[in-house]
Symmetry: C2
Subunit: 265 residues, 2 copies
Amino acid sequence: MLTQAQVEQFHTEGWLFLPETFTDEEIAVLRDEAEQIYRVQRPEVWREKSGAPRTAFAAHLYNEAFGLLGRHPRMIRPVEQLFDEQVYMHQYKINAKASFTGDVWQWHQDYGTWARDDGMPEPRAMNIAVFLDEVMPINGPLMLVPRSHTQGVLAADHDLTTTSYPLWTLDEATVTRLVQQGGIVTPTGKPGGLLLFHGNLVHGSAPNITPYPRKIVYLTLNAVSNYIRTPTRADWIAHRDFTPIEPVADDALLRYAQRYKQAAE
Amino acid sequence: MLTQAQVEQFHTEGWLFLPETFTDEEIAVLRDEAEQIYRVQRPEVWREKSGAPRTAFAAHLYNEAFGLLGRHPRMIRPVEQLFDEQVYMHQYKINAKASFTGDVWQWHQDYGTWARDDGMPEPRAMNIAVFLDEVMPINGPLMLVPRSHTQGVLAADHDLTTTSYPLWTLDEATVTRLVQQGGIVTPTGKPGGLLLFHGNLVHGSAPNITPYPRKIVYLTLNAVSNYIRTPTRADWIAHRDFTPIEPVADDALLRYAQRYKQAAE
């Protein structure tokens, strides 16, 4: 459970970072499995113009380890607590930000896309992310604009050209104004760190030109009553299964990791 | 003059950073003049694909403030000291790394370009750079690979497509190997910081997607005996005037800044 101070920081600043929430043992198996997923050619794995992986969708539906992460109480309970309601999985992504070729994510609000493309009524969904690699200042960390979530849904343009991923992006004047007010923060740290941010928080990330990959898993959890009304995207991008998530045991991923390790030995 | 410890750090690590070497007053005038230069359409001002300025060449030849910087003892003396010889101006660039659109500089060694394109005999030239804006972890700081200067000239490919600037760039396997050995450092700090690095030091910088511009002036100073033999680039890129630089007084730029400020009031 989040403390009262953490809940307040989330509401005021729009984000919350909990370092080292998962152990090295839990993360190692997810990192291995992510690399295997990226090697497969399937519609859920989107690639950069270079061919490097950009994001893998819906891995909780076809991979056991990511399935357990998608029902992990350390992911589900904080979001239930903030929304005071059960949640379902709206979207599930493993973003690669590959070494050398991981491309930009332009400045955007997530809820802008969920509202426009998926018909989500309210910003009662949010991303909760786990670092699979160390996130450093130099390997394309997520950049957040604190307090920008108080601005509602901002005007945006549908960027279909910059990268292989269509995104509703904000203009430079808007970002400049919000950064003048709130600055920019870049939560960084070891694998296993957990980051929550409001669906209307403005964020982006620069390309990664270093040899250090920067994989992050994003669960988009939506309050059950806020299910999407008019989806336009594939159902493995914007899910139509609105069943409330029942969390697994807190050690379920650890036990999976231990079995996985034994099997590999 | 550099201390013995500084000289040793340069030889061992391949770089040296001297924070706040120029004052705010000295830097403010250079920043103003740089912005004016970028607004002019002239062959010396190269632009990103977006139209934003990428670099302005040879401003010491057509701008008085940058002319004074190009003969400033705080720029010239450290390089003379390291080479134990007088130097001339081989190249002079004001790199913009503009807010939102400043593009990547792929991993490269400067001397690789000076040798291949300009016929420079030895790596007895180097960049000495001054920050005109604050350089932060998030606005595309220069990334250096410490100790990579000990590797000599590495094999490189001529990248004519990634950006508007042709560059001899290193492959991913080479960069990965050197970073495993030396890591990556990103000198950051206030305007007025001074950075020297060896002509063979591997470096690059990521795009800048923040609202914070990141202008840096690079003087490439070459030992007079090491003048270029077979130039192929325009003479405002790779200069043919091999006259040793005679430094101005240490307060010359400050006095110019004070006159400039008075004239503006």
